[in-house]
Symmetry: C2
Subunit: 248 residues, 2 copies
DNA sequence: GGATTGTCGGTTGTTGGACAACCCGACATG
DNA sequence: CATGTCGGGTTGTCCAACAACCGACAATCC
């Protein structure tokens, strides 16, 4: 681990200067968001933008390419670059989570999504999907026995739920959220969670599996809720989620 | 409004040839996904890639820039381009929806997300947020009276719910999904939905508002479910969603 | 010897110029 | 009127060069 020269704390580590195409893409996106060139309207030519920004055409091209890949603009060779008819972003981004506040919010979103997925899985699972769920459950049990790493089996369990919901978007979004959180947690407390991998989750997982096996959506929702809330607590995060029947 | 020449329906609109940086970015992403350069490992230099692909360095740079913005690779000047320590995508993408199948799946995801948001809003809304919700409700009523366009007020209503959940990620994702669906629907049946804007939704919206006002998460969930299911039916989409108490 | 500093090769960041591919409108031609 | 041709303008691609930066090694100094 290279120690950043923090010996003399009066010199703050200077953050990487924003790269040129980054800045230009950002400013163009701001303009478009403000509706400056109306949707469908044409942007200035690359040469004009380059001149106006005082940079080379390649830089402008890189910026436009990024906007293009985000679906904000479309270019047609020989004609120009146009603001997309519907300049709504094609992607939902989650930047690396820093504050615990953010982590808690994302976890909350994930909680609800996984609850929904489990309910769908309980309704629509095929026998094969149930088999995969049970296989992941057994793999986790083995991991606890042999003191080995249980994380792969755990993620496989969650993926199996996502798969059993039989909705590709649901599945992709669950995988995305899980992945995004996994990395943030791994960065925050490096591997400490993996060490004290707790067999407490065993019962929670089993309850989810049973509810899905028994085709009981409500029970599946509640089982996932309990599982993720205690998982969060094991990570030191307090999630304010009431059982759904509390209001009755 | 340029009418896309659909006079002769036998000629399908031919899609734009995949651009060079697109293809290279895709192939690089595939390689990385297969773990070819291990996470943290270095990619070949831009010059080498340019030579190997038989293209210019600019094209390779554009491709790498895209991967960089997706969080798959990181570049450091003077050092090279590296596969990100965790090459998980930073963004969840939804391409323009073509098949009705896709639209139904996305709508299902949105249904569950909005149900969760409504439940959260019922628990956590502030008085100001409730005011905004009621204002949107009244705006919709006015729109029905004056036969004017009710869509802006409707989206504002949904945004108000998203805001009242008091979770920025939840809010952003809801807005993203709504926006994404709106465009797809607009493309599919151009503005026909806007014309027969139905005052039937009035009661459904009011029910949601009341549940959130009364701090009843369960009722809020159910009200949103009813609203989105009938909204889908009005669009000709059959959504298989049971009331959550059905299993009891 | 050990620490600091200068130098060098390699890589990305940026620039400028050039040409090809393409679109559109205007014009000529029959 | 239909068609072909041309020219201007724009994006797509290529090339060559320099600047900024990094790592490693040699040179220097104590």
């Amino acid at each position: 681990m290279p120690t950043p020269l923090n010996d003399s704390p009066c010199f703050a580590v200077l953050s990487r200067r924003e790269t040129l195409p980054d800045e230009i893409a950002r400013r163009l996106a701001d303009e478009i968001g403000a509706g400056r060139p109306a949707p469908g309207g044409r942007l200035p030519t690359e040469a004009a933008l380059a001149g106006s920004f005082g940079v080379s055409r390649n830089v402008v091209r890189e910026a436009i390419a990024r906007l293009k890949s985000e679906g904000l603009v479309e270019t047609r060779q020989g004609l120009g670059a146009f603001v997309a008819a519907d300049p709504s972003p094609r992607a939902f981004r989650i930047e690396p989570l820093g504050a615990e506040e953010d982590l808690r919010h994302v976890l909350e979103l994930r909680l609800h999504v996984e609850m929904g997925a489990a309910a769908l899985a309980a309704e629509r699972r095929t026998p094969e999907q149930l088999d995969r769920l049970r296989a992941a459950l057994q793999a986790m049990a083995r991991a606890v026995e042999t003191q080995s790493d249980g994380v792969p089996a755990d993620t496989d369990f969650h993926h199996a739920i996502a798969e059993a919901a039989n909705n590709p978007y649901y599945r992709d979004f669950m995988v995305f959220l899980a992945e995004r959180m996994r990395t943030s947690i791994a960065v925050a407390r490096s591997n400490s969670a993996r060490l004290r991998w707790s067999p407490l989750a065993e019962d929670e997982h089993a309850a989810i599996c049973e509810a899905i096996a028994g085709r009981d959506p409500t029970a599946a929702r509640e089982a996932v809720r309990r599982h993720l809330v205690s998982a969060a607590r094991r990570l030191g995060l307090a999630l304010s989620s009431q059982p759904e029947d509390a209001a009755r």
